[in-house]
Each structure stands twice: as C-alpha cells, then as structure tokens.
Amino acid sequence: MTTFAPGLVADLVTEFKAKGRIVIVGASLAGLRAAEALRDEGFNGQLTIIGDESQEPYDRPPLSKQVLKGWVPADHTVLPRLRDLDADWRLGVAATGLDRVTKRVLLANGDEVPYDRLLIATGTRSRPWFNPKEGALEGVFTLRTADDAGRLQAALAAKPGRVLIVGAGFIGSEMASVCRELGLPVTVAERAEGPLVGALGGVIGDIAAEMQREHGVDLRTGVSVEALEGDAEGHVRRARLSDGTTLDVDVVVASLGSIRNTEWLEGAGLAAGFWGVGCDAGCRAFDINGVVTDTIYVAGDIARAPHVLYNYQFLVLEHWDNAVFGGEVAAHNMVSLEPDRRPHLPLPAFWSGQFGVNIKGVGVAPFADEIVITQGSVKDRRFAAAYGRQGRTVAAVTFNHGKWLEYYGALIERSAPFPPPPPGYDQAGDMTPIPARFPDPRALTGLPDVVLTGHDPTDRGAAFRPKKR
C-alpha cells in the first residue's frame, strides 16, 4: 500500500495557489470580499468574476436609506476595494449554466469559463409583483439594485400624492420611514399582524407598528393588496385591498421579500432550490443527494448552511455581515487543506435604521418561542429584548440600545439560560417571558430575512437508494 507523503499534499496547495483557476459567480458583496480574501490568502492563480449587473460591486444597505433620501446618488455606493485584485471581470453577462463534469460555467454570451474551484454568490433578487401586467405599470417599483434605487428616488423626489408600500419587512419599513422624512403621505400594507413580524415576532411588531403610526404612516395590517389599477397612460393610480378598501396612489413599492438566484444551476445536480444552495458549515456545496462537493463553494444571501447553535438546522441569512464573513471563509477553505479549513458559523447580526431608531439584532429570533424585554424603556424607544426557546437564549434585539448587544451575543453563543438574569438597573419592567408570536416562516407572510429551513440539505428531498448487492 502506498500513502501520500504530507510534503506532496502541501505541494499541491502551493501549486494550486500559483496556477489554479477560481471562478466567482455573483459580483456583489460576497463575491468581492471572497475575491479579496483569496488574494490575501496568497492565491496567485487565475481569478474570474462573473456578474450580470454591469456596475462595479456596490453596497445595497444605503439604497433604502441614504439613497432614497436623496443624500447619496444611486450610483455612489460602490463598495470600497480593500486591495488590488488582478482579476478577469466579466460584468454585464449572466451565468446560465454549470457543467460539473467538464467543470465549466456557461455564460449568456455563449462563452464557457473553466474552473478548478467555483464560488456561487448569486444572491437574491426582489420578488416581483405577482401580476406581471400590474407590475409593469409606471410607478410600480421593487428595490434591490442601484438602478431600482435611482428610479424610485426620482419618483419620490417628484412628490407623489401617496406612496403605497406593500410588505413591512426591514426594507419596506425603512422605505416608509424615508417617505415620512421626505414629507410624503405613505400607506404600508402588510399581510401579517404588524411590521417586522417575520423577523422579530409580534411583540416587537406591535412596537414597530406604533412607531410607524407615530410618524404618520397609514399602516394597514392583516390585509393584502389584491390589485393595482392604472390610468390611460399606464401609470398606477389605485390599489384595491383585501378588506374591500381602495387607495389613490402614485407610487407603489412591492417589498415582498426575495427570490434566490438559483435558476442558472438547474440541472447541475446541486442542492439548489427555493431556499438557496445547501452547503456545509465550511461553505462547500451539497449535491442533491446531500453529498458534499469538493470544488464548489457558496456564500452570501444564497447560501443555506447548518448551524450548530440552532440544532443544525439549515439557516439562510440575508445579512450584510453574513455575506462578508461567508465570502472570507469560503475563500480560505478553497485554498486550504482539510485540517486548516474553518467553519462559517456566524452569530447572525443585522442592523436597520427607521423612524429615528437604530435597530440591531443578534442571533436567530424566529427560532424562538418567547421574548422578554430586559432593559430600558419601550416607551422611549430605547430598550433591549432577549428571545428564548425552551429555556435557552437564542437571539436579542435592541432599539437605540446597541451597546448592550455584545452582552446578549455572548449569552447566545453559550446557549445561556432564558430568561437572562435581571439587570442591576434600568430594568424594563416585568421580566416574565411572553410568547414572541412568530408566524410560520414557510407561510411567506411577514418576510423573514432569516429563515430556518429544516434539516434536509437539498430541500428537494434526496432520494434514498439502497446499495444493490
């Protein structure tokens, strides 16, 4: 029997770093940070970055905040470059297929790009308005890209009579906040019982609802928008709601959550589906049988990976932090041998700014069944709350109280008992946990941007084929 000498294996890494070919599909946050990390890791081989948007990689969080307010032009959120890349950029061209046998990415222009290692970072897109004819009316928008933001900003700057935002997740709520800052009449229609309910539950949703109303938002919960009507010029003018009411509107923004960009992986045999591309904690993609691949990695909004803190359920995280750290870990693991590989086990973290309140969170709130407001004052919109599941602390959220987040992060990391011990001062009141009131994430109301998607790596169901004797 022969064994490989460790020296030879190490040589493979050196050689791969010098001559390997890495292809990244998706030229946004996760893709760019992964590319930079690859170079930092000493990868000197050929690096190709494919993106269907023609702009340089840019940052999305400002789009629903500074850009809509008109403070920053839509094309001014280009992501800072952390280092030289020396990469072959293929911008403005989509990947349309993946051939795992010949190890090639197929492009819309007919080109084929060979790879030794592939990173899938194609993220998500906005869920479009369900009725394409209505969705095509002038004045109907979604918000995901810089172009979207530019068009929407112009429409808001034109002082529409009323803006209707359909869907009160984080982005929808941020947009409503901007509308009020701009002095625009705005209606928010949300199918769930309140804003942010999918991400933070009904207790926090009630507070978010109060905030919206205090700031003059016409918030309608428990209703859906059933139809949009246009005028003779094809501009949207009216919306019909499920409660039978109608609204005169000039701008409608569909903020209905996202769709994962997995279509180009059709037929490639990967565990790609509705909730993204399944991968292990080291960012390696699973195939449809739940077998981990050696050459294909996944990062960012499109990744779906099991998380030790959440009973190894597969987690999708549409958060900025997750794209950055996921990209970095994927890059590291792509050029490392097995003993040096690292897990991407983020403590999920996010932030949002709306109605003058800085909302920050850690952990996975929808995993929880209970909540307790621990510190501060709900009335003053300055408080911290912890989420628990079966006696463990699993998440926390702060409203204008972000300096306490680190404490809760540490509690979550060690699965500390829930409720947490009472603080020594500035207690929010009664420390008895109450139900957190989360809707079923699979019901597609409430727009969660963190979803626990069960234990099945493929979410299409792997067929179990007993070995033939």
């Binding site: 621990t374 510190q375 501060g376 004052s377 003053d380 300055r382 300096k403 306490w404 680190e406 404490y407 540490a410 011990p421 009472p422 603080p423 020594g424 001062y425 500035d426």
Partner: protein
C-alpha cells in the same frame, strides 16, 4: 504570591513604574478576590464579559469601596452634606437610564451627529500650541515632556471646549493634583501621610466642585461659549442639565478631558525612546503613528481601571463567583497584557494586528472623548517627531505620579540636540 499580596504590590507606590509583573502574577486567576469585598479582573475575556454585563453597576453609591472611604473620612463625610445640598453624580459613576441621558446631553455639544465639526476644527489650533511649546524649547537641550509639552496642550484645549477660563488653570491644577493624590487604593493609604493626602484630596475635590458649580451657575440663563454653557441652556429632547448635575459632569470632563491625554502623550514619548529604531520608523512611515498610539494605550493604559463598579448580583465568571455587593475592578492595563489575547504582550509593536485593547474602556462607559484625545495625541506626537532632533531619555524609569488609576510619569526628562524649525 497570593492574590492579596500581588494586588498590594501592584498598588504600592514604588511599583508604579511597573505594576505589570504583579498583574501577571494576579492574572493566574483572571478574576480574583484581592481584598475584603474587592475583586480584580485581569483577564481579557473576563473583563470583556463584565464590561458589558448589566449586573455590573457603575453607580458609586452602590460600591462598598466608596462606602468604606466615606466612613474613613473625618470629619464625617461631606457626602451627607452634599446630598442634602443636592449633589448629583456624574455620568461615569451612574447607571442607565441616568447615565445614558447625561451622556446624550453632553455629547450633543461635543460630537456627531449634532456637533460633527467641533473636534476636527480644533486641529490647527492644537498643532499651533504644540509648535509654540517647542519654539520655547529651542534655546535649550533638555525638556520635561510632562510639564513643558504634554500637559499644556490638553489643558488648554479642554478649557476651550468646556468654556473654563484658561487663566484659572493654576488654581484648578493644584486641586486636581491633590485630588488625585488623595485617592489611594494601595497599602500606603493607611499610613498617616496617606490619611493626610486623602484629607487634602477631599478638600480639593470640594473646592474644585464649588468652583465649577459657580461657573455653571454663571452660565445658567446667561449663555456663553463652550459645552458647559450649552449643557445648562439646552432645549434638546432631554432638556437642559440641572446645574448640580452639570457641575459634577463639568468636573469629570475637565479632569478626564486632559489628564489621561497628558499621560498618554508622555507614555508615547517614553515608549518610543525605550524602543530603539521606533522613532526613525515612525518618521519614515507617519501612517503608523495612530497605530503606535493605540499600542501605547494598550501597553501603558492611562486609565488603569476605574474603581466605581460593583456587582448587583452573584456573577459567575472565569471560574469564580463574584458575590453580590462586591467591588469589581476592571483592570484595563492588566487585561491589555493578557497573553491569551495578545501575543508577546509586553512587546511594543505598532503593527500589531487586531489590537482591540481596553485603553478606552469597554461597554457603555467607553471613553466619551476618544476622538478629541486621539487628535491631540496624534498632533503632539507628529510635531515632536518632526522637530525634536536626536531625543534621549535622561532617567528610566521616570518618576511616576501617585495615582494607581490615572497612571503616568510625574516628569519625563528628555535630552536632544536641537529643535528643528
């Protein structure tokens, strides 16, 4: 060595130039009981956890240390009399929500988002001050970095920021000096001299407080320049600050607003001169200066700890349970040299990666004045590096000031060839 002994040695005056050997000893238990009702935290991770734990209070009236000091005071503590008079604690010794409110009220007139331009606008004036001080030193070949350089800059700056008349400096300087010498947490506190220092310190605090009370009251209703006037005449959502509370915070801002900056400038010069080649390195790569300053803060921590904190519940940390009611000293200086967090922790390395030290504290009481202090120390060091030719230490270690909390050289003599233009 028992934790008690290591602690007493670390606090002893003669060990002020290097308490770190004793901190290393103490860190064998990262959280250790070092005296009755007193726990010292010297481990990085343990300190990080406690600095963010809402069961650790900064409210000085809850601390057994404060209670003991008050009880030791004769004549009976002015605390009683001050309470009757309506004395209000400053933000650094209070808890939320009062802490948060006071900090917001003060920050409004100091930094972003409401006052983004104040600190940047001070840059040219600070640089001018530094240059003027070195101009004065052109005819000579020796300078006391503390008295002739590090002290005058921040004290002038903070007077301007707060609206405290610069001409009163000589008066309040003495009070502050005595006040700090009076707070002794070491074995010498129990000596006759220690008691006398404590007495003098208390009187000085009272005098300083009265002075600032008068100043703040003079601003109430008659707005003038500076933060103190704005504090008591404000119409922000939190309203104006009550004069009593404004006076306490004025005292905090005046003292914290220059003293640690002085010590940091002095320690920067001391550290660079102790590490051959580093002066040349920073001169050739000025971009490293901000990193070098952070590294000095890690190594020498101008605020070694702040003795306000206590546990409001039994807290388990680092294998120890801190009993409810105990004083909790977060030893920033010691944790900044925890080898579990910082490789080769006693080495000065301006390019140290991931240098998240506790020089500015951690948690909600994290330094309020960081951006101003950074600007001052940066400019002072830049000007020093540019103009002082061939600087050399005269005595090492230099004589230190008595305070264990605000640690820094009393004097720092440096010889040089000449001051460049």
């Amino acid at each position: 060595m028992t934790p008690e002994t290591a602690w007493a040695e670390a606090m002893r005056f003669e060990n002020r130039p290097d308490p770190y050997r004793f901190f290393d000893e103490l860190r064998k238990a990262p959280v250790a009981r070092v005296a009755d009702d007193v726990y010292a935290v010297t481990g990085y991770w343990e300190l990080l956890a406690l600095a963010h734990d809402p069961r650790v209070s900064s409210d000085i009236s809850r601390s057994p240390v404060a209670a003991k000091r008050a009880a030791a005071a004769k004549p009976p503590p002015e605390a009683e009399h001050m309470k009757a008079y309506g004395d209000q604690p400053s933000m650094i010794v209070s808890d939320p929500p009062d802490h948060d409110r006071a900090r917001r009220q003060a920050m409004r007139h100091f930094g972003p988002p409401h006052t983004p331009d104040l600190i940047p606008s001070m840059g040219p004036g600070i640089e001018q001050l530094c240059n003027d001080l070195l101009d004065k030193a052109t005819g000579q070949t020796r300078i006391d970095i503390v008295d002739e350089y590090a002290y005058p800059v921040p004290v002038t700056v903070i007077c301007k920021v707060l609206g405290v008349p610069r001409e009163d400096e000589a008066t309040f300087h003495r009070w502050i000096f005595d006040a700090m010498a009076g707070v002794d947490l070491g074995p010498e506190a129990a000596t006759d001299e220690g008691r006398a220092r404590a007495e003098k310190g208390r009187a000085s605090v009272a005098a300083l407080k009265q002075y600032l009370q008068g100043l703040v009251e003079s601003y109430a209703g008659k707005p003038g320049e500076g933060l103190l006037s704005k504090l008591v005449n404000d119409d922000s959502p939190d309203g104006p600050m009550e004069p009593q509370e404004a006076a306490s915070n004025a005292l905090l801002l005046l003292v914290a607003g220059h003293d640690s900056t002085v010590n940091t400038i002095s320690h920067c010069v001391l550290t660079l001169l102790r590490n051959p080649g580093s002066i040349e390195r920073l001169r050739s790569r000025p971009g490293l200066i901000p990193f070098a300053i952070e590294e000095v803060l890690r190594l020498e921590s101008a605020v070694q700890f702040f003795p306000s904190r206590s546990a409001t519940a039994d807290i388990e940390v680092g294998g120890t349970v801190i009993p409810k009611g105990s004083a909790v000293f977060l030893m920033y200086g010691a944790a900044n040299r925890d080898p579990r967090r910082f490789a080769d922790p006693s080495r000065f390395d301006p390019q140290r990666p991931d240098n998240e030290h506790f020089g500015w504290g951690s948690g909600i009481h994290t330094c309020f004045g960081g951006p101003l202090a950074r600007l001052e120390v940066n400019l002072a060091l830049e000007v020093f590096l540019r103009r002082v030719e061939n600087p050399r230490l005269v005595v090492d270690p230099p004589p230190y000031r008595r305070s264990q909390v605000f640690r820094g050289p009393q004097h720092l003599l440096v010889d040089y060839d000449r001051i460049r233009d």
